[in-house]
Symmetry: C2
Subunit: 345 residues, 2 copies
């Protein structure tokens, strides 16, 4: 398997290295060979190549079986015209990664960490499926001195393909999809709702479907997070709601993500570059390792291996071998070592 | 003072009646005369006039000193082309109500009701200022069979006038403004941020200003709500964030809102039409009475009267004279009577 690694900025390189270690361990135990190719993206790519997404990075991503991303961005690049985030948007668009999958769960044993009261959040277990290559993110932008315009565009095809990902995922989970829009105000949301309803009727009538307005949904995520299984929504709403959901477990260091296109996948922890702790071996590797488990499952079709990695992560959490963000005392690399040891055990 | 009352749908008429009672009591005690004119809006206006915002309603609102709105909407009108919400959007646009003010606070004594852990939320006290007549809500919308487009437009003038409201409000509070945008992705947000920065430098350098991305802000509202004083943002982000913030006190029945233009104001509770409990005298009138207090303060320049109403509400809450949503046993009209008695006391 050819894996492209995009370490990126801040703590990106540390956590990406953890991901590589875990894949190597999986390879040794299960007899697979992973070839790793490292490429530039984000701030470091701006520094070294004056381009947040250089052509050779793109070529490598296009040819890879899967891509592992650390994180991009940092205050260092905040005031310049070329920005690290452009690298992220470019890789999504170029690889056609139209569905961003963000699982979030709060096991009863971890609910004490949540900012929510335990009885509200304990046992919550959801998957947010965010459309990732459409909407305001990639619409036409115009600007004069005193006026700016962003276009939000969606087609039936774009909506169908991401809704399909949500319905398929629901069938493997608790069989319920909540589709989020603002159909009482905007046209793209009306098309969104119509299209989801039609697809549901035609192909997924066995899945329970409900609709929620984005403003209500923001409330529901805080007041009754256990009510949801799979949530599907457009790009900007998904950006907001998936970040909102990500704080419910009490540590964003535990969550991974998968961005999927037709056959292609990019995997990254959700926590970002955290420049304040970069280079100190404090970063929690678990979000990246959860992302690697998704890579094994979705891009490499190695579900036994994915289960083994998830189990190794759980065992180490249960044993209290934790980084400081979770109240532990271990360095990030020590947590990775513990998980690698579990894989070998 | 000429007050137009738009009872609207669901529990709208009950809570609007509570507002009228409170204003009458204030009038008796402080020697003011309020003239009330009732007009149609929303679903009931569709039923009776086939128009969610009839011309005579508009004329009355234009001529009024202030407008009191109950709520609009309900499942009854969900499947028809004319929708109650169109009435709400129309009155905002027609009256030029460009700034929506949503105060939210969680006094220590009430923190036990919050879905958040008490230590996180106790003492939170913020004002969200939402731009209300621009952005995706009022941009050009186009639709073909398989494609929809919404335009999001902002001008410097639109941004400046709402930012001004936020800075002025901050000066009377804790002197801090958090401006929320998605400047790393969309053009209108870049114009938003530039404009807020310029206005701050030119006229409000004494106010502390920070910027947050909308996705991070959704997280912060849950993880550190006490960190914010005044929050200002564009229409759609404001819709989402103000609803998110509204659940932090544990009951949306306690919150009011003001929508202000140049000189004009519309006041409404934030809870919506709650058709399930309509007509049962269960609705909590406090959100409406808080809105009436804002009306006294912002549109009628009666701040002593506003303080008196706020104090009467506080006293009744403290005395435990509560509706069921707050764990009490009183009918909505009994809570209103208790507050009216406090005003007279
Ligand atoms: C960095 C930014 C462009 C990006 C987004 O908004 O998509 C990030 O917030 C994310 O969710 O991955
Ligand atoms: C009903 C709807 C159009 C409205 C909005 O989105 O503005 C509501 O959610 C609100 O916040 O007042």
């Amino acid at each position: 398997f050819n894996i492209v690694v995009l370490p990126g900025d801040g703590i990106g390189p540390e956590v990406a290295a953890a991901g590589v270690s875990a894949l190597k361990a999986i390879g040794e135990v299960y007899g697979h060979t992973f070839n790793f190719e490292e490429k530039l993206i984000g701030g470091i790519a701006i520094d070294e190549r004056n381009d947040p997404y250089p052509a050779d990075t793109d070529a490598a991503c296009q040819a890879a079986d899967a891509v592992l991303l650390g994180a991009v961005g940092g205050p260092k690049w905040d005031l310049q015209p070329k920005r690290p985030e452009q690298g992220l948007l470019a890789v999504r668009k170029s690889m056609g990664l139209f569905a961003n999958l963000r699982p979030m769960d709060v096991p009863a044993s971890q609910a004490f960490r949540s900012p929510l009261k335990e009885e509200i959040v304990s046992g919550a277990d959801m998957l947010i499926v965010r459309e990732l290559t459409g909407g305001l993110y990639f619409g036409k932008q115009t600007r004069t001195e005193d006026r700016a315009v962003d276009e939000c565009v969606y087609t039936v095809e774009e909506i169908e393909r991401v809704a399909r990902v949500a319905f398929e995922a629901a069938r493997k989970r608790r069989n319920k999809v909540t589709s989020v829009d603002k159909a009482n105000v905007i046209e793209t949301s009306r098309l969104w709702r119509e299209t989801v309803i039609k697809l549901h009727k035609a192909e997924y009538a066995d899945v329970e479907l409900e609709h929620a307005l984005v403003d209500s949904m923001a409330m529901h995520l805080v007041t009754r997070p256990k009510a949801f299984d799979v949530i599907v929504t457009e790009n900007m709403f998904g950006d907001i709601l998936s970040d909102l959901a990500s704080v419910l477990p009490g540590s964003i260091g535990l969550l991974g993500s998968a961005s999927l296109g037709s056959g292609k996948g990019l995997y990254e922890p959700i926590h970002g570059s955290a420049p304040d702790i970069a280079g100190k071996d404090l970063a929690n590797p678990i979000g990246t390792l959860k992302s690697v488990a998704m890579m094994l499952r979705f891009s490499l079709n190695l579900s036994a291996e994915a289960d083994a990695l998830d189990a190794a992560i759980e065992a180490v959490i249960k044993a209290g071998q934790l980084t400081r963000d979770l109240g532990g005392t271990l360095a990030g690399s020590e947590v990775t070592k513990a998980i690698v040891a579990q894989i070998h055990a």
